[in-house]
Symmetry: C2
Amino acid sequence: MLRKINVGKRILSANDEFALENSRLLADHKLLCFNMISSPGSGKTTILARTITELKASLRIGVIEGDIKTDLDSQRIRRTNAPAVQIETGGACHLSAAQVAGALANLPIAELDLVFIENVGNLVCPSAFQLGENAKVVVLSTAEGDDKPAKYPGSFANAKALIVNKIDLLDIPGLLDFNIERVRTDARNLNKDIRIFPLSAKTGSGFAAWCDWLGESVLRGR
Amino acid sequence: MLRKINVGKRILSANDEFALENSRLLADHKLLCFNMISSPGSGKTTILARTITELKASLRIGVIEGDIKTDLDSQRIRRTNAPAVQIETGGACHLSAAQVAGALANLPIAELDLVFIENVGNLVCPSAFQLGENAKVVVLSTAEGDDKPAKYPGSFANAKALIVNKIDLLDIPGLLDFNIERVRTDARNLNKDIRIFPLSAKTGSGFAAWCDWLGESVLRGR
């Protein structure tokens, strides 16, 4: 007896199967999800803590924290009173959709408007793995240099938004050699529709545009 | 007929085979090789350019530059008049020993004392791949934060030396919340013999100890 195999169906990787399940779960709860990607130390956790505080009157935000080791970041998020679940990858250089599925099960998703996934600090590998998110947000800090979109194109090509963090450092004469126009040009050459938010998670400068965009994104998603 | 298989021999991965060949080639030429690992933007290329310039009277240094895309870094090194070969990985998150073998064939190794391999900017993946180097050097910049050895232990556990770069930023009151003693403690907990060099590749502060250590390392290797 012959078995009929439907070759028209795309065969998904195990990761993509979990990502699809995550995206269905998120859609069922009308919950927007952003996957944040950057180098170590660009300021992802500080951005998230400030975002949660600035938006606490209007948006209920939860966080999934990814790190190779330690729960330092989820501790920082919980100090803002937002729910946070830590994933320790134990060596792996990116989060997997299965890990995110487990974390979503431990967040009060019925009560949230927006979930941020803070990926492992790595400007290369995480962008290649779907987690079920609605969009990726890449973070670049001014201290890292303005050549990063050209040198690490994958993360910038696949993101819906780019945060240029630590712009307060640009106010100190002679401190950094960083041309934000070069970043804009190189990022838009890779990704013409990318939204770019220069800001400082330390001083709050530039945060209004970022927070407005998040609020609009949640509204559009409903 | 039975074929005799020597199960006592360790089976090397393809990468480790190339790494072993590289290490033999380097030993034949009494050439010391350091593999530099860090996040994007920690200042590896600036450190190398200054090191080459400060040591040009005593050490002949060549560089293998690894990037996902662009030859910006090898152009910067060549401006110091040192030989530099660029590897563009085209997406891969770390250098392989086979890529380094190809690059070594394009460097004037008979005329050199020391070769630096500047790995792809990534604090996670490169530390897991041997390239045939004598030792790894990990770079952390103060702008990345003092929690990085605890959060990314692999790269710090496997390195012979740690450069803490951009210490000039610590002189600006209130700019960074970075405790270098926390870095020392956490790095030594992972790796009790790691050498730690706080320096600024921009101002040259702290460079003497780093350059002395390189000179001694080359002498010891002969």
